[in-house]
């Protein structure tokens, strides 16, 4: 597995490869997939049913298997952000310090009520029924949303998705901006990757800070910004040359 900047390109290549596989979702019209995923995201933000969230996660898992996408990559993309943004953030809500409720599991028992300034802690610290419900609602909502969106992105080629957006009436100028953004993110990540490799190939000893010299990373970032400005000017020239005169 590649690390760092290369990992970004590698992950994107996995997506394109998965989207090109001969699976059930890959063969579905991209317009249907986009509409369904959008509807699902709206639905998931409106309802509060843990069972529904879990059901969607399960269905997405089954579709990921039958669609022949890289299962490990799919799981990583769904569950790592879900665990960080849904799990870790909402985990404290399970204990009665934050959400009072009916204790399910006692974690600690004090001899009496504890008062820390304005904070009044109950005699026991426990995982509560209400806290677990809140935790599961948030965590599974995020997991279900990510499951659906990542599944669509891994089974739809980028250009098919753009064409689907165009067919659905999204303005051409908006699609062009999306396409250019995506294309140039790749171009500059690739450039940054090569710069990084060139830097590593010439690094004999680790650079020491101080002595009034810019670090290689800072110098590289500056050079990249300059390159970015130069390329964007040329890109604009290439568009104007073909008759472009603004959106």
């Amino acid at each position: 597995m590649k690390r760092g900047i290369s990992s970004f390109l590698f992950q994107a290549l996995i997506s394109e490869e998965s989207a090109g596989a001969n699976g059930i979702l890959q063969n579905l019209d991209p317009r249907i997939k986009l509409v369904l995923s959008l509807a699902l995201v709206i639905l998931l933000s409106l309802v509060h049913s843990i069972l529904l969230f879990a059901g969607i996660v399960l269905i997405c898992l089954i579709f990921s298997l039958v669609s022949r996408i890289r299962f490990k990559a799919y799981i990583g993309r769904v569950w790592i952000p879900a665990a960080i943004f849904g799990g870790l953030v909402s985990l404290p809500a399970t204990i009665n310090i934050f959400i009072p409720g009916e204790p399910l599991l006692v974690l600690w028992k004090f001899s009496g009520p504890v008062v820390l300034g304005p904070i009044h802690i109950q005699e026991e610290i426990a995982v509560t029924h209400q806290g677990v419900i809140s935790f599961l609602t948030l965590f599974l909502r995020i997991a279900a949303t990510l499951s659906a969106v990542i599944l669509v992105s891994m089974t739809t080629k980028w250009q098919d998705a753009l064409r689907a957006l165009q067919d659905m009436g999204v303005p051409r100028s908006f699609i062009l901006i999306l396409a250019i953004t995506y294309r140039y993110i790749f171009l500059f990540v690739h450039l940054l990757d090569n710069r990084n490799l060139a830097l590593r190939s010439r690094t004999i000893v680790e650079h020491k800070k101080g002595a009034g010299r810019a670090t290689p990373a800072a110098a590289s970032a500056g050079a990249l910004l300059k390159k970015y400005i130069e390329k964007s000017e040329q890109l604009h020239g290439a568009m104007v040359s073909r008759g472009f005169h603004g959106f």
Partner: protein
Amino acid sequence: MVFELKNVSFSYPGGSPGLSSVSLKVSEGERVAILGPNGSGKSTLLKLMDGLLFPESGSMLFRGVAITKQVFSDQNFNRSFRKSVGLVFQDPEVQLFTSSVREEVAFGPVQLGLTDEEVSARINNALAFLNIQGLEERSPFQLSAGEKKKVAIASILAVNPDVLLLDEPTADLDPRSVWEIVDVFEKLYMEKKTIVVSTLDLHVLPEVADRVYVLDEQRTIRGSGPTKEILSNLELLNEANIIHIHKHGRDRTGHVHL
């Protein structure tokens, strides 16, 4: 006369020099090369001729009309100029900005306001001209350097300009791709297009141009003439830093590095 430049000078913001007192003429249907070493202002000259940059001093006429910033604010002139003149950039990455080859080639015709059927016909014709049918659905990431260059040319041909400005079209290509691009020049010549090509590739020069302007490192025209004449003028090419003449070995025999 398609282009007539008289004492054109240009500097980039910050003062770095771009061109110094350049004069040249390009007639209808002519094939002209701008030959010069790296940094001699070839790309700058083509951008000026494409109305993307404007001279600081001197005059520049396109079919008798002075090319100035003001004249491009007239939408009718802008549209007619963009329809007539196409520039293929040296770096195809700046020209291939959409997500697929089809979208890329369609960009120019769409800007011209053509109907979907006309756009489709333009795409098919341009791809057929470059012999790259089958790349339509490919993303620019999935193209080789030679394919990128051909797609960049196709994206300009789809506009159907009668004047083509090509900035080092054979740079960074493998020998096979170089000669495939040269074949494209031959086809463009048969279609009576006016071609201005910048290059530092002396091997392809006789195939792509009948007349040559030589730029030197002072970013000015050092000489001009028919291609054969220029290629045999080693003194001029050496002065312009395009070739390298040196002596080595015991007998100190001189030879030319082209």
